[in-house]
């Protein structure tokens, strides 16, 4: 169990009185990728920010390499990206790209707000993933707006990071994004989490989008069953 990098126990997050998710328990080891799947507003972004140490859980415990997330972030290299809308529009792309390592990752001098959405997304991803020796990669809807080449680059890069010992946590509402990419799948539906290992979902071959879609649909139906029974 020593290679467990992210460990969550009965994790609960609330914004004021509104509960986002409740009682999440999971472990992610080094060399593993966890896919967090759920509909919009299910708490995927919140979960990633809790792991990144940007938010504290309301209840439960989250440890990253046996430390609090904030401590872990200061002692290991973490790559976190929440989407192109988090990049400041007035900054030049080349300046932003140099923020991770100091080296320019793009010669593009236009301001971020003038770039296409996919280019912004790629700039944010390349900046975060250019950090050396990443131990933990947290990406929120990373394939959003990427073209085919950029998607392929992202998948290859994530695979490389994972093979080099990083834990990868990816959040998406779209089963197509995460199918076949992850070792574990955490479905966030109706504030609850359901964890599946990839081989539990598919005994032969990689997990397909249809398989993930079916599980998501079943969990959503289960979640609304009491309401349907009452009506």
């Amino acid at each position: 169990m020593s290679d467990v990098l992210v460990s969550a126990r009965d994790l609960t997050a609330r914004y004021g009185r509104r509960e986002v998710f409740h009682g999440l328990t999971f472990d992610v080891c080094a060399n593993q990728a966890l896919g967090v799947i759920g509909p919009n507003g299910a708490g995927k972004t919140t979960l990633l920010r809790v792991i990144a140490g940007l938010l504290s859980p309301s209840e439960g415990e989250l440890r990253v390499r046996d430390m609090s997330p904030r401590q872990a972030v200061s002692r290991m290299n973490v790559g976190y990206f929440a989407g192109d809308f988090t990049l400041p529009g007035s900054v030049r792309a080349c300046d932003w790209g140099s923020l991770a390592t100091g080296d320019a990752i793009t010669p593009e001098r236009r301001r971020i707000r003038t770039l296409s959405r996919g280019t912004r997304q790629l700039l944010g991803l390349r900046t975060v993933l250019s950090r050396p020796h990443l131990g933990l990669v947290l990406l929120d809807e990373p394939w959003e707006a990427l073209d085919v080449d950029a998607s392929r680059w992202l998948s290859r890069t994530l695979e490389t990071k994972r093979d080099r010992g990083a834990s990868v946590v990816l959040a998406s509402h779209d089963p197509h994004d995460l199918a076949g990419v992850c070792d574990l799948y955490l479905f966030l539906v109706n504030r609850r989490g359901s964890l599946f290992k990839a081989h539990e979902l598919s005994t032969a071959g990689p997990v397909t989008p249809a398989m993930l879609g079916n599980v998501l649909e079943r969990l959503q139906v289960d979640a609304t069953a009491p309401l349907r029974a009452a009506s």
């Binding site: 938010l55 504290s56 900054v91």
Partner: protein
């Protein structure tokens, strides 16, 4: 990591170029004025101090909640260094302009006048800049600007709270109450601002 955080905030545009341009114009105007009349330092400093009140309150939390500081907050930089860097970058242009005008005054008066570096002027610049920064950590630049406008334009409030009244006042003329007021107004917001950045959560606006 402090230098990295400073570089990050400069690139992220904590002080927009428009405000930096404002300071350059104010210093240029001060240079012209002080060349003609070296005793006009207080008049030359007034627009810089007013601009500083709006610029220093750059606002941390609202920008952080848009995710603009995620890369820095997950870089491993200690939070206190992030707070310090944000404060330094927010205050830097105004402080630099103040020092420039002070040096211009000294040069124009051949070293005989230094109202720009009088105790009251120093207190006004340092305390009000830190106050403006600390008060805006939890709010936006616009909200802080509205607060300053009210403070500066309501005479009964301005009489007690406007930092302009301290410009040029020498150490001997400052009463004890004014000194305590200045210290209190600088230290408390600084502590609260740093505390908010160090301990505070950073939820994403779009995820709430």
């Amino acid at each position: 990591m402090l230098l990295y955080a400073i570089r990050y905030f400069i690139i992220a545009g904590v002080v927009p170029p428009l405000f930096v341009g404002g300071f350059i114009v104010a210093v240029a105007a001060a240079a012209v004025r002080l060349t003609a009349n070296p005793e006009a330092a207080i008049d030359a400093l007034t627009p810089v101090l007013l601009l500083q009140l709006f610029v220093a309150g750059s606002g941390f939390r609202i920008v952080a909640r848009r995710g603009h500081f995620d890369l820095l907050l997950t870089s491993g930089a200690p939070r206190w260094q992030i707070a310090l860097a944000h404060c330094l970058v927010s205050l830097g242009p105004g402080m630099a302009s103040w020092v420039c005008i002070g040096l211009l005054e000294l040069a124009a008066s051949h070293g005989s006048l230094s109202a720009s570096f009088a105790a009251g002027t120093c207190a006004a610049f340092v305390a009000s800049s830190i106050f403006a920064w600390g008060a805006a950590v939890y709010s936006s630049r616009t909200a802080a600007a509205i607060g300053w406008l009210l403070v500066m334009t309501i005479p009964s409030v301005a009489r007690f709270l406007s930092p302009l009244r301290l410009l040029g006042v020498t150490a001997g003329s400052l009463d004890t109450f004014a000194v305590i007021e200045v210290l209190w107004s600088a230290v408390l917001p600084l502590v609260v601002g740093v505390w908010c950045i160090v301990r505070g959560a950073t939820p994403l606006e779009a995820a709430q």
